[in-house]
């Protein structure tokens, strides 16, 4: 976890999902204080690659691109989002199960596209 901050985000639209729920991510407004984790994407890597979360604590991931369009697919949470240069993509996660959950870029972005992966680690 490199950059974590508390923030009040009013009026932004984010994707929301909780592990185990069947519903796909959908846009809803943020109306409460939540921990925000900034994640940067550039060809072949996310930073940080490993994101440690506490079970039961909702967080917002702020995804930004440093070069071109990327994707963020976190299948186990039913989340996928586009990360476009010059924009901030926010997704909300409510981890309800301890474990390691991989995420990956699903927008083909170059020779090392297959290496652009990371993990959400949920601890008690």
């Amino acid at each position: 976890m490199k950059i974590i901050k508390l923030a009040v985000i009013m009026g932004a639209f984010i994707a929301f999902a909780t592990l185990g729920e069947a519903a796909a991510a959908e846009a809803i407004p943020v109306v409460q204080q939540e921990r925000v984790i900034q994640v940067t994407a550039k060809v072949s890597e996310y930073s940080p690659r490993e994101i440690i979360l506490k079970k039961g604590e909702p967080v917002i991931l702020e995804l930004t691109s440093q070069d071109r369009e990327h994707g963020f697919r976190l299948t186990d949470f039913g989340i996928r989002a586009d990360i476009k240069p010059g924009q901030v993509t926010r997704v909300r996660i409510l981890p309800q199960q301890v474990g390691r959950f991989s995420f990956a870029c699903d927008v083909f972005c170059g020779v090392d596209h297959e290496e652009m992966v990371g993990e959400i680690v949920v601890v008690d």
């Binding site: 699903d106 927008v107 297959e114």
Partner: protein
């Protein structure tokens, strides 16, 4: 080794597998023989054969994965040319080249690929792109060499539809092409035999590994009213057979490196070369159109006959 399966067998096997019966495997043998017992060289009038090659990844380097990377495609071409029964035409279902960030190198690889496959005896060849060929430039270089990314053609009463789900780097077909598909299908009879050729699976095979088409369900839904539709695709470098409703989807082996079964390992990566079994997991297939294009027994062929 060859494997042969037709539509009826596939439906039966899929039903058995769905019922949880273990040990269901596709028949294998040294000679391509259909379930009806006919030799693959003894086609009935009105039947025809086409050949599918896929994921040649020309330009790939990785000695641990394929130390013969510079000759694998040429060997496959030689094996195809040596087939006793030559197909009516050949299709390449994408990833002709391995991706590169250099636009000039991409064109060099496409040109080299084109030169090698020009040695195929069969001169009717239909190409399509994979994400390695087309995703980084929206198909610009591919078009210079092979033309349109989506198109149709007809052969002996069967309507073939080539769908592009790679030139958009998100792995989508897109609204415009879906509209084109609807317009194309609208002029067909509901009992017309239709073959769809594409690169990525049109269903969610394993999205964690990008083995999906983002709007593939829209294409499948559009095809669903048609009684005889079969999909052949590539991308996953292995045989896979799946049904969406009454529509079978058959993926092909690759011709550079095999990939693991969906979700079988934590990280998708090429299966290393097995010196004891060179070219294991690689190959191409012939597809025999039967019953007026309503059944498609498949025969799998290795890269080399040895």
């Amino acid at each position: 080794m060859t494997t042969t399966i037709n539509r009826r067998e596939f439906l039966e096997l899929a039903a058995l597998a769905g019922a949880g019966i273990a040990g269901v495997v596709f028949a294998s043998g040294l000679r391509p023989v259909s379930a009806a017992g006919r030799s693959a060289q003894g086609y009935e009038e009105g039947e025809f054969v086409f050949l599918q090659m896929s994921d040649t990844h020309w330009g790939f380097t990785g000695p641990a994965v394929n130390p013969d990377a510079t000759v694998t495609l040429e060997k496959a071409v030689a094996t195809v040319n040596a087939l006793e029964q030559q197909p009516d035409f050949i299709v390449f279902t994408g990833d002709l080249t391995h991706t590169t960030d250099d636009p000039q190198e991409r064109r060099t690889r496409l040109a080299q690929f084109r030169d090698i496959v020009s040695k195929l005896k069969v001169k009717t060849v239909h190409f399509m792109a994979g994400e390695h060929d087309a995703s980084l430039d929206h198909g610009e270089a591919y078009r210079e060499f092979f033309g349109d990314l989506h198109y149709t053609f007809d052969h002996k009463g069967v309507h073939f539809i080539v769908l592009d789900n790679v030139s958009d780097p998100t792995g989508s077909i897109g609204d415009a092409q879906l509209q084109w598909l609807r317009a194309d299908l609208a002029r067909l009879d509901r009992e017309s035999p239709i073959v769809v050729l594409t690169h990525r699976p049109l269903f969610d095979l394993y999205p964690q590994w990008d083995w999906a088409t983002r709007d593939g369900a829209d294409a499948v839904q559009t095809l669903m009213p048609y009684e005889y539709v079969t999909v052949f695709y590539g991308h996953i470098h292995q045989e896979h057979h799946h049904m969406t409703g009454h529509i079978p989807h058959h993926s092909a082996k690759g011709l550079m490196f095999p990939l693991p079964a969906p979700g079988s390992v934590p990280k998708k990566a090429p299966i290393p070369w097995d010196p004891a079994h060179p070219y294991k997991g690689l190959g191409f297939r012939t597809v025999q159109a039967q019953a007026g294009g309503k059944e498609y027994p498949i025969t799998e062929w290795p890269v080399t006959k040895g």
